[in-house]
Amino acid sequence: MSRQLFTFNGGVHPEGHKAESNATPIRPMPLLPRYVVPLRQHIGAPARPLVQAGDAVLGGQMIGAPEGYVSTAAHAPTSGRVVAVAPHAVPHPSGLFDLCVVIEADGEDRSIDFQPLDWRKLDPSALRNRIREMGLAGLGGAVFPSYIKLNPSGQTLHTLILNGAECEPWITCDDRLMRERAAEIVLGIEVMAHTLGVKTILIGIEDNKPEALAAMGAAAPSGMEVVAVPTGYPGGGGKQLTYTLTGVETPTGGRSTDAGIQVFNVGTAYSLYRAVYLGEPLLSRVVTVTGHVANPGNFEARIGTPMTDLLAAAGGALDGADGEIVGGPMMGFDLMDQAAPVTKSVNCLIVKDPVRFPPRPTTLPCIRCGACARACPADLQPFEMYWFSRAKDFGKAQSYNLFDCIECGCCAYVCPSHIPLVDFFRFAKSEIWEREQEKHGADQARQRHEFKEFRLEREKREKAEKFARAAEKNKEAAATTTTDATADPDAEKKKAILQAALDRAKKAKEAVTPRNTDNLPPRVEKEIAEIEARRAQAEAKTESGEG
């Protein structure tokens, strides 16, 4: 390999323990009577359940729909009946339950019709949408929805890195996948490269996996470069592998895409191949089962496989087993409940024994020896962060760049005082998050309250203004009626019209009404005329005197 590699600071070399599980091919699992599919298997919002208890489902049928942007779908692993959509044990360090769809298999294992995608012709946006619906998420452990990572969204990407480093001890699922299914992985990589529009494709594999290196090298067409990277933990961390291969440091708080680089796990490339070429949603993944079990190895486990069944497939735990680790020994966590299922993020299950996984010795005070700082791949000063995290001086811990910590565990691995440093950092981070959320919540509450106050105030003001306007109007109306007729030309006009009408009516009345004064003697007629004249005079007088 002619490519210049870069060496990141720090890191450790724990015992690999790869041979325990990487010697045998990936084994299929029998169809199980029951699967438990969590709706939250990825980073982001949990999927929205599409089924309820009693519903019949087919394999590959979407049972959880992506909800929001950062989300992806969940699918039924086989045909059968939904028996519950309810909280169930899930593989999470907290041991808390989460919403799961429990499916009782009918044993027929029927599926929906899988429609392969013509990815070269399909519009990239439509392709991403399909991938979202097929539930693809990063299988390296972060389980970030893949469709988002396949969207350059305005950024110009030049390099695609495939992470086949698999630096965590004990885990060999990517190793076996690359050995056995290199051609399919390469097809998936092609789709990725096409969607992202990248020119350079690098496949990074640690040099302790010569078979995987050879298989991927043989399968990779020109334009894809398979690079052997030095074995060392955490050489397969996204930031570390990116640096090793390109010398680019992922900016703090940012992503490698800010530097034009996108990173995918090789397992994700394989699941993309299945999604595109077979039209199959993410229904299974390869899981390493190793440690204190009868037949360690790798298993093609459907998403939703209960851990008990997975353990049984590996021949079961041996005598003296002492709990299980989900994930690797450096970043994994204790399995709280064997009923928890395999999810998209579960790459390994290690059965512990007291010899290879002795209890942590008594913790002694920090002696500031700095071994943690020398082991830290992020160039942090863990003992300083520990000091402040322990004192709950979180502001100070943050000023020592707590949030640049990737929780790889190198510091705690080398600590001569056996301080569980990473636990302190997780604690400090979650406390800070919680406080920020609280503050955010308080801010929101305050804003809501202030808006309500403002609204009430506004309503009150508007009401008052309305009243004021109405009062004004009434007053005006009153003023109009009391105004002198002469003062108001309008009123004068009205009066004239009225008078005219009265006159007309009078005239009409006079015209119509038969008069009993007809044929009167001329003296009477004269008297009448005189009386009429006086009355008219008087009438005119009264009218003008009004007001």
Partner: protein, 341 residues
Amino acid sequence: MNGSPFALLANNSVTAVMFKVMAALIPGIIAHAWFFGPGIWVSLLLCTVFAIGVEALILLMRGLPLKPFLSDGSVLVTAWLLALSLPTLAPWWLYAVGIIFAVLVAKQFYGGLGQNLFNPAMVGYAALIISFPVYMTQWPAPVGLADHSPTLLEAFDLVFAGQGSISPDAFTSATVLDTWKTQVKLGKPVEDILAQPMFGWGGGKGQEFVALMYLLGGLLMLSSRLITWHVPVAFLAGLAITAGGLHLLEPARHAGVLFHLLSGGAMLGAFFIATDPVTAASTPLGKLIYAGLAGFLTAIIRGFGGYPDGVAFAVLIANVCVPFIDAYTQPRVFGHRKAGK
């Protein structure tokens, strides 16, 4: 608490660290016994016993478990470093007082392991040289140069029963650093001073070889990554550059670089004392500044101060500066902008 990592580096503990440091001291101790007689075994034994006693007593009073804290080995390192800094064949209570200052005052008063600001052994040394300067300047002369070199039994007798039977003049002398200082002040020519039998090819006779053995132990610690190069290199460079500069300016008053490097506590200080992680700076740049300062101050105190050797005070003053030095020498974190960009 999810407990990861579940894997831990094998054979790694504070105890292991401390015992490796003690193992690295052994070549120097053997050389010391070879050149200055078996008295060193007595002072090592006394300091060890006193240190464990004081530490255990305080742990009991603080309600802390004895086993993990006594077996961490840190108090043994303190005891040995103090024993190697003090004159041998001194009265037993001198070691007791030194240990009380080191373990009780400097370490436990500050909260015990990992909490102390000042190097415990150097606090013990400083307390003694201020309180009992006479005892602190009476060092056994190298074997062969003294009228009489006490045997191990005589050494015990001297330490516990006092110096009744043998006159101290018979086996003690001032150190070469002390001799240099007083005789230069009296105006004695440098050639005459260096011609005295107590002066060897580099430093004091015998002492120069002990210093080389400390250097060997230090290199062993470097190669096993117990310490990094920063502190010893910066300490010795700070001392050499300052002493060399003074020697060039006033050769009649200030001794040469090699003499300074191989005399007194220079090598012990550079590799075993200034490197104490609890009290030293922790960042790479900080270590260079801290140890460079300690080396510089050692030369200045030797050259102008009232005490013959300056390692203890230099290290203590540098200890004071550590929090400040660390705060301003934080290394760039991965993914953060490079300085000036």
